[in-house]
């Protein structure tokens, strides 16, 4: 048995942020069990991520290298990691709970007749792993039974990446055996939805403006905030009625229904027609002059203040927080 292994994900030639969070989780788990932590980076040829990982406090870093690992396919990743972990025999394997991991890790675990405990938010005695159920209304504590390897993936943001200590570790390479015929899917290059069309429905971040903006001339203020965030600009009905923004940007029962990660409502009082359109948002922030505005009822965070002061301050704060 060889302790805790953390699978790091490569993104644009670097280790992704959420992978560092997984490493933090792995270290926390290892500390609890008195085990060593190692990192493994499956990638095609780039050395950079493994070099980056080797600068962290881990026992060793293994680069799993094979040309068929790029572009990503679940078949190649499952095969490569299966071969590696059969030899490494870990107690625990920790993944970041990314879209990619969700795509192959359950199958990988099944090859070991194991079950992945996914989307973990915390570690308890046992060890047991906490994750949310019933869409966040309940927390469940899961315990793996029997001998390892046990598979765990951690939720984005649940562990602090900046808590990973720096150090230096050796880098090894592992070459899996993968035949092209074993890869049964042909992935195309990633693409974005056409930039010309506004697609509020799938936008992850939205800044939305309402009547509180008073005049069309004040819109750039909110546009700047949206740009700083990398968010789409949207509006409530009166703004589109006035023709200040095109109708495709209208959110609410007579416009678009949205479900972003963050919905930032600026100068929107929160009529029911509007609320109906934003209820799927993961996090709602409201900025409004009137502390009794109904939008605050549905918001997670509220700032009761003059948007002409708060919005520029927020734009600055976001620019400052950008890495």
């Amino acid at each position: 048995m060889s302790g805790v292994w953390v699978v790091l994900e490569e993104r644009d030639g670097r280790v992704s942020r959420i992978s560092w969070e997984a490493l933090a989780a792995g270290q926390a788990l290892a500390a609890r069990l008195g085990l060593a932590v190692s990192a493994v980076v499956p990638c095609a040829q780039t050395e950079a991520p493994s070099v980056e990982a080797a600068a962290k406090s881990v026992e060793k870093v293994v680069r799993i290298e094979h040309p068929l690992l790029a572009p990503y396919t679940p078949d190649a990743f499952t095969l490569a990691l299966e071969q590696f972990f059969r030899s490494a025999e870990p107690d625990f394997i920790v993944f970041p709970h990314s879209y990619q991991v969700r795509d192959y890790a359950p199958a990988l675990a099944a090859r070991f007749s194991r079950v992945l405990i996914g989307d973990v938010t915390g570690i308890a005695d046992g060890p047991a792993f906490q994750r949310q159920l019933m869409q966040g209304r309940l927390t469940g504590e899961y315990q793996p039974n029997g001998a390892g390897p046990h598979f765990v993936s951690v939720q984005s943001g649940a562990f602090r990446a900046d808590q990973v200590a720096a150090s230096s570790a050796p880098v090894e390479t592992f070459a899996p055996v993968i035949e092209p015929a074993q890869i049964r899917t042909r992935p195309g290059a990633p693409f974005r939805a056409s930039a010309q069309t506004v697609d509020l429905a799938s936008a992850p971040l939205i800044v939305s403006v309402g009547r509180g903006i008073k005049e069309a001339d004040n819109l750039p203020l909110v546009q700047e905030l949206a740009t700083a965030l990398g968010a789409e600009l949207a509006a409530s009905r009166p703004i589109c009625d006035n023709g200040w923004l095109p109708i495709e940007r209208q959110v609410g029962s007579s416009g678009q229904t949205v479900a972003p990660r963050l919905y930032l409502a600026v100068g929107i009082s929160g009529a029911i027609q509007h609320i109906v359109g934003i209820k799927g948002s993961q996090c709602i922030v409201a900025i409004n002059k009137d502390p009794d505005a109904p939008i605050f009822e549905v918001a997670d965070y509220g700032i009761a203040g003059d948007l002409f002061e708060v919005v520029p301050a927020l734009t600055e704060a976001i620019k400052a927080a950008k890495p």
Partner: protein, 630 residues
């Protein structure tokens, strides 16, 4: 000096040739009448029977017939001047029945009203008076149609109407003229023949034109479904509403043929008045064309060539059309029937509509919000839970539970009940009453919602409900009856009016205009109660269109959930009208009206304040009314 009243001149005895000529012309006229009328009658009779139709209670039918047909009450009340003109023509026709019978009998030498007899003399004079009124009436109607030309009569001039007017005028003129010619003179013979020929030309025209209503509308009024917007239950496993000709019922067919094309329905229709496709008159005439072309056995869809799906889904179900119709056509069961046909078979594809249906398939409210939001509101306001001991179950409704404005209304109404010491409670598991899906024709969902709510009410032993939403009131009180016996329910306007004496009056003298919600007024006949509440709080003024003729806010019929409308917004038209009254406050008594008018009033240059009547009343309560001792 002696003055003798003129006597009605009768021609001298007719020759055999004349008799034969008269009889053959009469037979031809009757044949031409029957040639068109018989197939119409056959079409109506071949249509499906109405599943829930009962002739009883007959007393109501007799009264409606007397009031609406004989007295022409609706015709006159809704359009006084042309209504009265029409009534004169109608009463003239009634008075003429005996005269005409006698007129024809004379040709055969069996006249039974002798111009010299006292009864006949009296009757002829009476008929003459009616003839004068009728002639004046038809002249007036002619002038209106051809010179005044109100737009709801359509752009195209109806020459047949002009011709009919001419015939009616000729009938009256030839009758009256006979008082001024010598008995048995050539002139009297000429008048007799002119009158007769006019009559025999008139008869076959009836079934070929909208004047068919002369024959059918008395039957239509008598055979009404008995109840405003009464939606018939579905009969059996193959009934999905009005899908094809085979689904058209006898009453629907009778109504389609009764339409007199007066355009009252269109005149008052909020959709037709704001540039939508829907025109209620055309919906009825569309059905008539369908029946004429394809008949009641056709499997061809009803929505297509003759009626458009787009049009029937633009209806706010405000009911102004059905309320106005002088010949007893029930537009709402027809329009909702067509929607049922489209929704129950899945033919209606609409993103907003599907979203609404899915929200109610998966959750408890039409807004698709989480029930926990409702719980939070109940907790915040500390509404007591209904436990079977309180007098009232306070029904929140979707708007009352989730809409910020609706919540304010409910909270204020609760304060009033606390002030009065009325005991009430709320149900945690209340679901949408099914109003929007009922009006949109989704019978599956409506039945599920009605049944689960009825069960919930029975479990909790609810006997009396009060609510701020007229849509909930109507749906619970009337539409749920199909699935069980709902508890007694009243709207908060009725509750407030009853308790007015115990509630402090406002010292305010501001002008308040009351907007009648369709589902409170036309659907429930409640007009005076909210006005009493308004008068308690300020000076009441009326909008040009109010009470029975109130103009919709645009929300009803599920339309509040169907996204942006085409053409002008109904709510904006109404808001402009309300703002133009100069009132400082617009009061309403429906959370849907409230939400529709809110944005629309804000768009006015001088926006009056918008409140619910409960909020008007609550203003005068002592601050921080202590909760009632329980």
């Amino acid at each position: 000096m002696t003055f003798s009243l003129p006597t009605l001149a009768e021609p001298s005895a007719f020759t055999l040739g004349e008799k034969l000529l008269f009889l053959s012309l009469a037979a031809a006229s009757a044949a031409l009448f029957a040639r068109r009328f018989a197939p119409i009658l056959r079409t109506i009779l071949r249509a499906r029977r109405d599943p829930d139709f009962h002739l009883s209670p007959i007393g109501r039918r007799v009264w409606e017939f007397f009031w609406e047909v004989m007295c022409q009450a609706k015709v006159i009340r809704q359009r006084p001047l042309p209504g009265l003109a029409h009534a004169f023509v109608f009463w003239g026709f009634c008075a003429f029945a005996l005269v005409t019978l006698n007129h024809c009998a004379i040709a055969l030498g069996i006249g039974f009203l002798s111009p010299q007899g006292w009864f006949s003399r009296f009757y002829f004079y009476l008929a003459a008076a009616f003839a004068l009124a009728c002639a004046a009436g038809i002249t007036g109607l002619f002038i209106r149609r051809f010179l005044v030309r109100p737009r709801w009569l359509g752009k195209k001039l109806s020459w047949e109407s002009g011709f009919i007017a001419l015939l009616i005028f000729a009938l009256m003129a030839t009758y009256l003229a006979a008082f001024f010619v010598a008995d048995a003179s050539a002139a009297s013979r000429w008048l007799w023949w002119t009158h007769t020929l006019t009559l025999l030309i008139f008869l076959p025209i009836i079934p070929h034109t909208k004047h068919l209503h002369l024959v059918l509308s008395p039957a239509t009024v008598f055979l009404s479904r008995g109840g405003f917007s009464k939606i018939p239950p579905l009969a059996g496993d193959e009934d999905f509403g009005l899908v094809a000709g085979t689904d058209v019922t006898q009453i629907a067919a009778l109504q389609a043929y009764s339409c007199v094309e007066c355009g009252r329905c269109t005149e008052h229709c909020p959709a037709a008045n704001t540039g939508k496709v829907l025109n209620p008159k055309e919906v009825v005439l569309g059905l008539r064309s369908y029946l004429n072309e394809l008949g009641p056995a056709s499997p061809e869809p009803l929505l297509g060539k003759y009626n458009s799906q787009e049009a029937v889904f633009q209806c706010t179900t405000c009911g102004a059309c059905e309320f106005q119709c002088p010949v007893g056509i029930e537009h709402l069961p027809l329009i909702i029937g067509l929607r049922r046909g489209a929704v129950n078979t899945g033919a209606w594809e609409d993103d907003h509509g599907a979203k609404l249906f899915l929200a109610l398939e998966r959750g408890s409210n039409a807004l698709g919000l989480s029930a926990s939001e409702r719980d939070k509101f109940i907790q915040k306001e500390a509404f007591p839970a209904f436990d079977g001991t309180q007098e009232y179950c306070l029904w929140l409704g979707c708007m009352g539970a989730y809409d910020p404005k609706g919540r304010e209304i409910v909270a204020d109404f609760a304060r009033i009940m606390n002030h009065l010491g009325t005991r009430y409670g709320v149900l945690r598991k209340e679901k949408c009453t099914g109003d929007p899906v009922r009006r949109l024709g989704n019978d599956l969902l409506f039945q599920q919602l009605a049944e689960s709510n009825l069960e919930l009410l029975a479990q909790n032993k609810v006997r009396k409900i009060v609510t701020i939403c007229p849509h909930c009131v109507r749906t619970i009180a009337e539409d749920w009856k199909e699935f069980g016996a709902p508890p007694e329910i009243e709207h908060h306007s009725e509750f407030l009016a009853r308790h007015m004496a115990q509630l402090p009056a406002s010292q305010n003298t501001e002008k308040v205009v009351f907007h009648d919600p369709c589902y409170l007024g036309r659907y429930r006949n409640v007009y005076d109660e909210p006005r009493a509440v308004v008068e308690h709080a300020g000076e009441r003024v009326e909008a040009p269109r109010s009470r029975e003729r109130s103009f919709c806010c645009g929300a009803g019929g599920g339309l509040a959930f169907l996204g942006e409308e085409t053409g002008e917004r109904v709510s904006h038209v109404r808001a402009a009208e309300l703002a133009a009254t100069g009132a400082a406050t617009v009061a309403t008594a429906c959370p849907f009206c409230n939400t529709m008018l809110r944005d629309a009033l804000a768009a006015q240059d001088t926006a009056p304040q918008l409140v619910d009547i409960a909020q008007l009343t609550a203003r005068a309560l002592p601050p921080a009314a202590p909760p009632a001792a329980i």
